[in-house]
């Protein structure tokens, strides 16, 4: 069996358009079980559109997406049952407290939890004291923990995390990285988007750099650095003489600030 056949997520020649604007142009990649895969790109590069298509929120106008062998277009409920999603700006019903949100999503994913099991989940994310707090009353780090526990409540084979550490302090970020590595340790796959090259280097096994709707590089962080070490565009943006993943990223996608 080839690696492609064993992939938990396969994206093949994905295209996404909004009217006449083509946001994603023939993107292909695969994520293996037990792999943390990073999707990097400047603002407007097509990361969120790619992720939205995988999540089933946007209908692609070309290509195939399969999750655990199920097409997101043809068997969306089966594909979604195999993935957990943490959206960039998650919001829950403002009137529900943390326990109630966990119970809601455990029911939605068919893993109805007893009050004791909900309590266990809260202990797991160190929020047992906040069980009756509304989501909006939690700090950014606490919200991310709730969001992550919900995305993994059904023990999915694939977890999608859209910029999961944005706005977190270093302690919360490290704690989240540990949780992401815990998912990997179970043999499950993680696809994350991030603007932090430090994060990509620290947690991702492989990364794809996407720009103008196309994948322009895909490999391990170390291999990408090694492959582009002598690229003049990369050298020109490096600081202090050491080539980093950020130098490679800027060298490949350009210095211009995107809107």
């Amino acid at each position: 069996m080839s690696n492609q056949q064993r992939a938990i997520l396969e994206v093949d020649q994905l295209s996404v358009s909004y009217g006449s604007f083509q946001a994603v142009k023939g993107v292909s990649f695969a994520v293996q079980p037990g792999e943390i895969f990073g999707l990097l790109g400047p603002n407007g590069a097509g990361k969120t559109s790619t992720l939205s298509a995988i999540e089933g929120l946007v209908r692609p106008n070309g290509g195939q997406i399969t999750v655990a062998g199920f097409s997101i277009l043809e068997q969306p409920l089966y594909a979604k049952a195999n993935m957990g999603v943490q959206l960039q700006s998650t919001s829950f019903q403002a009137e529900l407290n943390v326990s109630e949100i966990i119970r809601l999503f455990s029911g939605i994913y068919g893993k109805e939890l007893s009050p004791a099991e909900v309590e266990e989940k809260l202990v797991e994310i160190n929020l047992q004291e906040s069980a009756t707090k509304r989501y909006g009353q939690l700090s950014g780090g606490q919200q991310q923990r709730v969001s992550l526990v919900i995305s993994t409540i059904h023990d999915p084979q694939l977890v999608l995390l859209d910029e999961p550490t944005t706005g977190l302090d270093p302690q919360s970020r490290r704690q989240l990285w540990d949780r992401i590595e815990g998912i990997k340790a179970k043999g499950h796959a993680v696809l994350l988007t991030t603007h932090s090259m430090e994060e990509a280097e620290a947690v991702c096994d492989r990364i794809a750099i996407i720009d103008h709707g196309r994948v322009i590089a895909i490999d391990t962080p170390e291999a990408l650095i090694a492959a582009h070490r002598n690229d003049p565009d990369v050298i020109s943006v490096s600081r202090k003489g050491k080539i980093t993943l950020e130098d490679v990223f800027i060298g490949l996608t350009g210095r211009a600030v995107r809107s």
């Binding site: 049952a81 959206l87 919001s91 829950f92 029911g107 109805e112």
Partner: protein
């Protein structure tokens, strides 16, 4: 690879529990929605002798249905869509219809509570008593009328994306329906307006409920009004679903 998707009944149970909890936590605004029709029923006590008890009850229920459909349902959908609540639900293994079905069932429960409250206040304060069949038919007619206003709310939230604009539009439509509907029905605005109001969403619902409360008086006009109610509901719901965007 073995994959089990959650049973629809389990998903609906989870959604309904959350939506009813949300409704309960919002009971202050729920009380306000219920207050207006109850005030109408109490303040129209003097009309019981001249227009009849069913007229007063039907007026109160119609106004309550407008409140629930336009102010309750529409604004909650617009707010949750804007905050990304639907987006979070839709990335789960949940059929889109279950999300809406749960929301609508909660509103139907509200309509039932409002109708019972109006029957109770009408009986206790205005001394209006109906036959058991009148209560039953009135109850069913209220649900049918509620469907019309929920579909009108769906149309508004389908055509307008911004929650503030949805809020102001529903308030404007609510005000127009109540003022033109009530005054037009009384004939204060002239015969032409009275005729138009009678076949407007306000008028047809009012007539269906008013006649259903006294089933023995059911006639062709009531049948036409019921068909018009169903027609409005289908048109508004079809357009509201067609243009609705989840995010």
């Amino acid at each position: 690879m073995q994959t089990n998707i959650p049973q629809t009944s389990a998903v609906m149970t989870a959604l309904l529990r959350a939506d009813f909890t949300t409704l309960w936590r919002n009971r202050r605004s729920l009380r306000l929605v219920l207050l207006v029709p109850l005030v109408i029923v109490i303040s129209w006590k003097g009309l019981v002798k001249t227009m009849g008890g069913p007229y007063v009850i039907a007026g109160g229920i119609t106004i309550g249905l407008i409140s629930i459909g336009l102010l309750g349902y529409t604004n909650s959908i617009a707010r949750d869509r804007d905050k990304g609540v639907f987006q979070r639900l839709r990335v789960g293994p949940v059929a889109a219809w279950t999300i809406m079905c749960s929301r609508i069932l909660v509103q139907i429960a509200t309509i039932m509570v409002m109708t019972i409250a109006i029957f109770a206040v009408g009986s206790a304060v205005d001394k209006i008593t109906l036959s058991p069949m009148g209560y039953l038919m009135g109850f069913l007619a209220a649900i049918l009328g509620g469907a019309l206003y929920l579909s009108l709310g769906q149309l508004i939230v389908g055509l307008i994306k911004n929650p503030e604009t949805v809020n102001s539009t529903t308030r404007l439509v609510y005000f127009i329906f109540i003022m033109v509907g009530m005054l037009g029905n009384f004939g204060v605005l002239g015969e032409a307006v009275k005729e138009a109001v009678q076949w407007s969403p306000y008028g047809v619902v009012n007539r269906v409920i008013g006649t259903a409360l006294q089933p023995a008086t059911w006639n062709m006009q009531a049948t036409y009004a019921m068909l018009a109610t169903i027609g409005y509901t289908i048109v508004f719901a079809a357009a509201g679903i067609r243009f609705f965007k989840w995010n």
